[in-house]
Amino acid sequence: MKQRLLRDLPLLLLTFSLGAAALALIIRLVGASPVAVSKALWDGAFGSRYSLSETLVQTAPLLLTGLGVAVAFRCGLFNIGAEGQFLVGAMAATGVGILKNVPAVIHLPLLLLAGAAAGALWSGIAGLLKVYRGVQEVLSTLLLNFVALQMLSWMVRGPLQEAQKGFPQSDLIAVPARFVLLAPGTRLHAGVLLALFCAALIWFFLRWTAGGFALRAVGSGEGAAEAAGIPVRRTVLATFLLSGALSGLAGAIQISGVTYLLSDGYSPGYGYTAIAVALLANLSPLAVVPSALFFGALTAGSNVVQQRIVGIPSVVVQVLQAVVLLAFLAYAWARERRQRREEGGVA
């Protein structure tokens, strides 16, 4: 294993250098300096204690949504709706968070539960449509993202709007419903630990439980799973619920750990980045942790890039993600090809 990793390293370096070169070209094209951009990216991600904490803060939602996507993909379900599930999770969490007269001890658990449940319901729509009406989940989950976005837009101007009715945003959630901060002077909150715990939990579930086995079996082939007596429909539906719950929880954690309120345009696209997170981790729940950390660093870094360098807008992070993914796809192809050659197959 270690040996193979060592042998694959040059290949990995080659593909990612190609990616970096392409990026540098794009940055030159819009008239900025690639060196200055990389410097800002590094500073924003790892440059100081605060940057490091920001990287971790950005990692939490990516870790949970990434897990949600990974779980669905492992079952062979293209749930591209993590963004919408994240948003409805944040909406439900806000709804619970701003309630008065909730006993303090249960306020935070209740908020998290509401977020996860809302995410599961939203994703469950796509699950029902697939199982009972044969609608491809790629389409339904994408479309549900747009519906969720409009629902958010309405919520912050309607039922969840702040009491003063000034801005399209909610009131602050109650203090007991917030996560405790872990380091003074930063936004690092205990929700990050909960996200890590979820990664371990999902790993255990997939690896060691009957449900996890059924999920993976359906992912490797519905026919075979059915023949082995695994209830395919039920597994598919349950996977949709689990996947949505994880993304919904991400939305809830973001509300109770970072922003404390809901606003228009709430997500900077965590649910879409989640797809990249899951893929780079090869859909393994444990590998999602470093992968989310990597994209968390990219997100935190590009926030600083956008502030510091004129002409580089926040969408630069999408380009970064795309280039990383393309480099990874090229690497996966090259590795497969070499493996097959070594096995003496036709290349």
Binding site: L129, R133, L143, Q150, A276, A330
Partner: protein, 308 residues
């Protein structure tokens, strides 16, 4: 309703249908040869920007449209490289393409506006073929409509059409019959990119007369749904895109009708315009659910193929 109003509604619906229709024809050809391209959204977006920039710089709407066609094709070449030649999962490659398009168009458009390369020059509009103002039909809309019977003829009345469809159903058989499956799929990917480029141009030059970030707003995804709803048939795609365009036009008009406004205000729901904006997506979902499992996609859809 007066005849003039009805005519203007119909023409507006046709114009709104054009981007979705062009993209869905591209998606239809792709899927007919077994390639699923989630990247239609990104291809539309890139086409929309290319058309605006090229038309402004050259002062010619026609050149804008042509450049959009080429740029759409160029980005689709990237899709074909990863999704067909390197045989990576097409849903993943398409999703990546959407990231890339959203990010790149955002960066390039800002850089272009900031550099003042537009030089304050006006954006030349697409000249109407029929009528003028809001009651007109531009050349791209007309082209989109004409492409429908052309695509149908190509797919169902020619030898090439048989080969295309066989490639998406039983690529092994097509290959045995002498078709270079991968090469054909790459070519169709380029065609899809070109059609989406045109679609993007019809959106930015034809409807909005401007480019804004993320202006496609899921039209590429609706186009994918239109392919399914239209049963992989060009006339089906036409009917479905018209339906969604009409819904889009209707929701925009409904918002301004006093009676509807009063009724909504009486419900105390706050600002209700998001409901209207969500309508096309909800309608698409409902349409897909109604159509349901009665439709069958091409058998080899999304499966990589390797010439033996």
């Amino acid at each position: 309703m007066t005849t003039a109003l009805i005519l203007s509604l119909v023409l507006q619906s046709l114009a709104y249908a054009a981007p979705v229709l062009l993209a869905s024809l591209g998606g239809l050809f792709s899927e007919r040869v077994g390639v699923v391209n989630i990247g239609l959204e990104g291809l539309l977006l890139v086409g929309a920007l290319a058309a605006v920039v090229a038309a402004t710089v050259t002062g010619s709407a026609l050149l804008g449209v042509l450049i959009a066609l080429l740029v759409g094709g160029a980005l689709a070449a990237l899709f074909a490289l990863f999704g067909v030649v390197l045989r990576r999962d097409q849903v993943i490659v398409g999703t990546t393409l959407n990231f890339l398009a959203l990010g790149l168009t955002g960066m390039l458009y800002r850089a272009w506006s900031a550099s003042g390369s537009g030089g304050g020059k006006p954006l030349p509009p697409l000249t109407p073929i029929v009528g003028d103002g809001s009651t007109s039909l531009n050349a791209l809309t007309l082209l989109a409509l004409l492409l429908v019977p052309a695509a149908h003829w190509l797919l169902f009345r020619t030898r090439l059409g048989v080969i295309l469809r066989a490639t998406g159903e039983v690529p092994e058989a097509a290959a045995a019959g002498g078709t270079a499956v991968s090469r054909l799929r790459v070519l169709v990917c380029l065609l899809t990119g070109g059609l989406c480029g045109l679609g993007g141009a019809s959106l930015s030059l034809g409807i909005s007369s401007a480019f804004t970030e993320g202006m496609t707003n899921g039209r590429g995804f609706i186009a994918l749904a239109v392919v399914v709803f239209g049963r992989w048939n060009p006339f089906g795609a036409l009917a479905a895109s018209l339906l969604f365009a009409a819904a889009d036009v209707a929701q925009a008009r409904l918002q301004t009708v006093a009676g509807v406004q009063n009724w909504l205000a009486s419900l105390h729901l706050g600002d209700t315009y998001p409901f209207f904006l969500a309508l096309p997506y909800v309608l698409t979902l409902v349409a897909l659910a109604i159509r349901g499992s009665k439709v069958r996609p091409p058998a080899a859809l999304g499966q990589p193929f390797e010439q033996g």
